[in-house]
């Protein structure tokens, strides 16, 4: 039983790390998220 729980916890921790890492990459590195309401912004950088 304890082994099963440890395995489950490991899977969850890996999933959490992967999820956070992907979000990080998306936000800071790839920055490919679609942007809306750009009218109010004067100078989008190229």
């Amino acid at each position: 039983m304890e082994r099963k729980q440890a395995l489950l916890a490991t899977v969850l921790v890996i999933a959490l790390a992967a999820s956070v890492a992907l979000s990080y990459l998306e936000s800071f590195v790839w920055m490919q998220v679609r942007v809306v309401n750009t009218d109010t912004i004067d100078e989008p950088s190229e």
């Binding site: 959490l16 956070v20 998306e26 800071f28 942007v35 750009t38 950088s45």
Partner: protein, 551 residues
């Protein structure tokens, strides 16, 4: 053309200046944010850590999980308010789902283990894990944050969020239901109150949390959802109450102090926001009341905790002393038993003529000594048995046997001793057929049947001793009745306790160790039976009844 964040990544959000750590601007959010979020988050986390450090139980671990997710959520929202760069803002918006789902799942788990006092069932664990995994899979995708509103510096939420807002009330209802079921099943009044307090705390906390978020989102009034975390204070307040009231988690005075401090800071901070004179008066009164009652609460908690700590210390000291005494007694008894056995061997040899024919006088002395040593061995054996029973190291070799034979043997034995005193010892209504029980025959014979009959003979100066054995359904009843000295009501109270002599019994039986009936009761208990004594009072005889389950 679809624009991506890459084109805005290096831009600051609005007019914000990244004055703090080059990434945050503290001047934008309303001041209430710092008053409501920061202390609540810190207090929740501190209490979670403290509770878990003190208790290290399933409950405290889940409470800590609730606190950690809540703290993460609050920190995330703070970043959303104060971050200066779009990239950091998007990251915070994306991660919000992790904390929000984690908070609700761990709160459900907490309520389940707190109210049921058991671990989560397997299916519950798997369900929690499955929901967590599904959420984590969705977090980095457009289902969570579909796009980014660069003009308003905020994420545009995807379909995950309406789903969460719809499921969260269901989670609150589930918590309530789990608590309600545990409450209905529980019979103990104290525990029912504890369940009630914990459940109501969790339901109110997460209910308020959900409502303020949902309403804020719906009305696009984000100032409103600043009040949401206040629900967590209710949760902490009620849990602290249950901690103090039911000695949960043993968080000591810390919890009460943190609670009072938070309340005072929160209520005090309201003075900066209310402008009408009525409100200011109301807030001031509330603040004054909080300070007074908070102080009183803290004082009473401190006193109670001190008292409890002292009691616990004393208990530990007593436990150690008791354990030492038991092992010392065991050791001494063992040593004495060895010497007595040797002496018994020597006297038996003398009596039986192993050392050639002895003069008459010496032979008489040797016989007397043999009898005395025999008594000494019996006493030491009783002490050892009692100490084994207390330490839990006595083992029982249970087998099925006919106890009619054992009882008849014990009665015959008692008859021989009784004859010397002129007592009439009889086995009334001896059963015609075998009465079988599953038990340790030797221990039952020695510590129960013989012990009760020996006692009856010993404490009966004249008259009769009657033993009977009957089977009544699934029960075998052994009774010893005598016309002896009887038992006073006070003696009856401590008859089966360790060393529990009757007040005057030592006058009648100088060899009594006071362990005989204690051992008899322990042995009967170990066989799933009952033993008790009846007597109409001193001089009116007594009746000992033993009931054992039939085989």
């Amino acid at each position: 053309m679809t624009m991506t964040l890459a084109q805005f990544g290096t831009l600051l959000c609005g007019t914000e200046a990244p004055t703090l750590f080059g990434a945050f601007d503290l001047s934008t959010p309303p001041a209430l944010l710092f008053y409501s979020y920061v202390p609540i988050a810190l207090v929740t986390l501190a209490m979670g850590l403290f509770a878990h450090r003190s208790a290290r139980s399933r409950e405290s671990a889940w409470l800590l999980a609730v606190a950690v997710f809540f703290f993460g959520w609050v920190a995330d929202i703070l970043v959303q308010w104060v971050a200066s760069y779009h990239t950091l803002l998007l990251f915070a918006w994306q991660l919000n789902a992790v904390f929000e789902v984690g908070l609700f799942l761990s709160a459900i788990a907490f309520v389940a283990v707190f109210t049921r006092e058991r671990a989560l069932p397997d299916w519950g664990t798997y369900l929690l894990a499955a929901v967590s995994l599904a959420t984590l899979a969705v977090v980095p995708t457009g289902l969570n944050i579909e796009s980014y509103d660069v003009g308003n510096c905020q994420g545009v939420v995807g379909p995950l969020w309406p789903t969460l807002y719809a499921l969260e009330p269901a989670a609150v209802v589930i918590m309530g239901y789990i608590g309600y079921r545990a409450w209905r099943k529980e019979l103990d009044v104290q525990k029912r109150l504890r369940i009630l307090v914990g459940t109501i705390g969790a339901v109110l906390a997460l209910g308020t949390f959900w409502f303020s978020n949902y309403y804020g989102e719906l009305m696009q009034t984000y100032d409103f959802n600043l009040w949401g975390p206040i629900g967590m204070v209710i949760f902490q307040l009620l849990l602290t109450y249950s901690i103090v009231r039911f000695h949960e988690f043993n968080t000591k005075v810390f919890g009460a102090q943190a609670l009072v401090a938070t309340l005072v800071v929160l209520i005090g901070s309201e003075l900066f926001f209310v402008h009408s004179a009525t409100n200011q008066i109301l807030v001031s009164i509330t603040l004054a009341l909080s300070i007074v009652f908070g102080g009183l609460l803290e004082r009473s908690v401190r006193a109670e905790v001190r008292l409890r700590e002292r009691l616990q210390e004393q208990e530990k000291i007593l436990e150690v002393a008791n354990a030492q005494q038991v092992s010392l007694l065991h050791f001494i008894s063992h040593e004495v038993k060895g010497s007595l056995n040797k002496a018994q061997g020597v006297f038996a040899g003398m009596v039986e003529g192993d050392y050639r024919q002895l003069p008459e006088a010496v032979s008489t002395i040797a016989k007397g000594a043999l009898g005395e040593v025999g008594k000494g061995i019996t006493m030491v054996m009783d002490l050892l048995a009692a100490s084994d029973l207390k330490k839990g190291t006595m083992s029982f070799d249970k087998k099925e046997f006919d106890c009619t034979v054992a009882v008849r043997q014990a009665v015959d034995n008692a008859r021989l001793v009784g004859k010397v005193k002129g007592l009439h010892v009889e086995f009334v209504t001896p059963p015609t057929e075998a009465i079988r029980i599953t038990a340790d025959e030797a221990k039952l014979m020695r510590h129960v049947f013989r012990n009760l009959l020996d006692n009856a003979v010993r404490y009966t100066p004249s008259g009769f001793v009657r033993a009977s054995l009957v089977r009544a359904g699934a029960i075998v009843r052994f009774t010893v009745e005598d016309s002896g000295v009887g038992i006073t009501p006070e003696d009856k109270q401590k008859l089966f306790t360790e060393g529990g002599h009757g007040k005057d019994s030592i006058k009648v039986n100088v060899d009594s160790t006071g362990f005989g009936l204690f051992i008899a009761k322990q042995v009967v208990d170990a066989h799933g039976g009952r033993i008790w004594a009846e007597s109409d009072g001193p001089g009116k005889g007594s009746r000992f009844v033993v009931e054992l389950p039939a085989a």
